[in-house]
């Protein structure tokens, strides 16, 4: 197991390095200021600065990159964390319910619901929730939640209180935590919906499989109530497939989080990345290649960590899948 994980980690890191080099050439050839210098030289300068962290922190156009990109990354990860909580809290009961009542109307309705939830693109869910529940002047929605921005921020002046013309304060201490979660609620729900659909369906099928297993028949024969049979025996064994799957999905979820982040203008990694690219689409403005590279590094680390942990968990839970 250890050797297998190390080998996968090594290959993953190698792939990460090659991909980052590729993206460096890609960006450096396209964007000012590096597009004016010989590309191999600028690659060598970037490479040389990696061990000391100079290429990661000192921006080409000035500024401390780790601070800016790191803050944005933190926001994206917070969104991801809240989303995972919502996914787990909703998907598990839904999946169990559908499995326990399989073949009934409830199962059928839940199945259709989870299908639609998974099929809808995340950006459509996001704008539906934003218009339906966000505070948009002149909108048709309920206005329960802020439609845009992080706690205490009003991008482009949107979300300003019309009474005192100020952006609602983000508060301190627990109030601040509450405000942050309040602002993250719609984005997290939008992000969670598709994955609730996917995971509830997945969990339902593994619980149904488990319910057919001999040990469940034994548990029923012992006279245990159906609730205990499902929760204690079937669900616990269904987790073996479910937990690694949900961890591996974090990579996909991360990509979707960038999309949601842009729509709600949360100032996360997606907003930063698309902002830089759109900046260049409008005019031939210089774009900091080092900053783009650092963002890609963060993204690649999340992808690699998620897939590694997913695989390790799968190997721990289910020894048959070990490949060594």
């Amino acid at each position: 197991m250890g050797a297998f994980v190390l080998r996968r980690l090594g290959l993953g890191l190698l792939a990460m390095f090659v991909a980052l080099s590729g993206s460096f050439f890609f960006f450096a050839a396209k964007f000012l200021p590096l597009s004016e210098t010989p590309i191999l030289h600028s690659y060598w300068v970037w490479l040389r600065g990696l061990p000391s962290g100079r290429s990661l922190n000192d921006g080409l156009l000035g500024g401390h990159l780790v601070a800016t990109v790191g803050a944005a990354f933190g926001r994206t990860m917070l969104l991801l964390g809240l989303t995972l909580v919502i996914v787990v809290v909703i998907a598990i009961p839904v999946g169990c319910l559908a499995a326990a009542m399989r073949g009934t109307v409830v199962d059928y309705v839940l199945r259709i619901g989870t299908y639609i939830a998974w099929a809808v693109p995340v950006f459509v869910v996001a704008i539906l929730l934003q218009e339906g529940f966000g505070r948009i002047p002149g909108g048709w929605g309920t206005g329960w939640f802020p439609s845009i921005g992080w706690a205490g921020e009003c991008p482009n002046g949107q979300g300003i209180d019309p009474h005192n013309f100020q952006c609602p304060a983000a508060g301190h201490g627990l109030t601040h935590v509450g405000q942050v979660i309040y602002h993250l609620m719609l984005p997290a729900l939008a992000l969670a919906l598709g994955f609730i659909g996917l995971n509830a369906r997945y969990l339902r099928n593994s619980v149904v499989d488990a319910l057919d297993a001999p040990y469940v028949t034994v548990a029923r024969a012992k006279g245990l109530p159906e609730r205990v049979v499902v929760m204690r025996h079937a669900l616990r064994n269904a987790f073996v497939a479910f937990v690694p799957a949900i961890v591996s999905d974090i990579g996909v979820l991360f990509g979707a989080a960038l999309v949601v982040d842009v729509i709600f203008q949360l100032g996360g990694l997606g907003t930063l990345f698309i902002g830089l690219l759109q900046l260049n689409a409008d005019a031939n403005t210089p774009v900091d290649t080092y900053e783009l590279q650092l963002m890609l590094l963060f993204a690649a680390c999340v992808m690699l960590t998620a897939s590694m942990i997913g695989e390790i968990l799968l190997g721990l839970f289910d020894p048959r899948t070990r490949l060594d």
Partner: protein
């Protein structure tokens, strides 16, 4: 020789008696999958004909028709946008572009993926190693980031450039799946038997490996189709893909409509209808894909 029937009649008898393949029968017995298949085909036909269905009678750029909610009157079924263009017309054009992009990219990516994947799976060697490493590379970044970066090279993006960009990257997952399938089929007894009988590589591939892998290929292609629709729409939505200035697509119509809800107070219909069409396509593709997967690999009775 009166006992032997005429050869032509015998041939007819044989073709008549040939049973419908069990896979097809299992598929036709799923009402949900069949219905989604019909809806999907209907939408695709409308989309393919899209620009030809539009008549000048649908276009009225007068003040009265600015930002008009959907009405049955004057065929204004999808409402109008802020300058009075019919959203029905724009959605038809958008559907046309999106559909052609997605179908072309899926078909091309599948063809390339099947060709390279099967060679890699059958022959092994450097191509096999190369495809595995390329697969690793594609998994390093989220796909959306990859395409956002690639699209910067294609500005101004048109439908054909988008097709090209999607094809360049999305043959990789197909190749990986096909490679695994071919490599495992290759080791099975009937292939070994054919090999020992001296069958040529071409015969083994066309008669044994490809038919066995066809189910996997179809499943991979349908899931790719849905993925391409989503990716393309998402990129266009962010105005980094095809722009409304060059071509309407479902994605950029949704993006423009949503931006104008904030900026111009445009009604929900300007993005709601393109989004609805996209949604129906995606739900139907997914349902049909799952139906096909279930027909090809029937699960245990549940």
């Amino acid at each position: 020789m009166s006992g032997v029937p005429h050869t032509a009649a015998a041939a007819e008898l044989v073709t008549e008696r040939r049973p419908v393949t069990p896979t097809w029968r299992r598929l036709t017995r799923q009402p949900v999958a069949m219905t989604s298949g019909f809806i999907l085909v209907a939408i695709f036909v409308v989309g393919a004909l899209g620009p030809h269905l539009v008549s000048p009678a649908l276009v009225h750029l007068t003040d009265e028709w600015r930002n008009h909610p959907p009405t049955v009157r004057e065929w204004n079924l999808f409402g109008t946008d802020a300058i009075g263009e019919s959203m029905l017309v724009r959605t038809l054009y958008g559907l046309h572009t999106s559909e052609i992009t997605a179908l072309a990219a899926t078909v091309l990516a599948t063809l390339i993926g099947v060709a390279l994947g099967s060679i890699a799976g059958y022959r092994g060697g450097w191509l096999d190693v190369a495809i595995m490493r390329i697969t690793d590379l594609l998994g390093v970044f989220p796909l959306i980031i990859v395409f956002l970066a690639v699209y910067t090279y294609f500005t101004p993006v048109t439908a054909w450039k988008a097709t090209l960009a999607l094809t360049i990257f999305l043959w990789i997952p197909v190749a990986r799946v096909v490679r695994a399938e071919i490599a495992s089929t290759r080791e099975r007894e009937f292939v070994q038997a054919a090999l020992s009988l001296g069958a040529t590589d071409r015969r083994i591939f066309l008669r044994h490996l490809l038919p066995t892998a066809s189910g996997t290929i179809i499943i991979a292609a349908t899931s790719l189709l849905a993925q391409v629709f989503v990716l393309e729409a998402t990129l266009d939505f962010f105005r980094l893909g095809v722009s409304t200035a060059t071509q309407n697509t479902l994605g950029n119509l949704i993006g423009e409509g949503q931006a104008n809800v904030f900026a111009l107070g445009q009604g929900w219909w300007s993005w709601g209808f393109p989004a609805g069409v996209l949604l129906v396509i995606l739900v139907c593709t997914n349902l049909l894909g799952d139906g096909i997967a279930e027909a090809i690999r029937p699960p245990r009775q549940r």
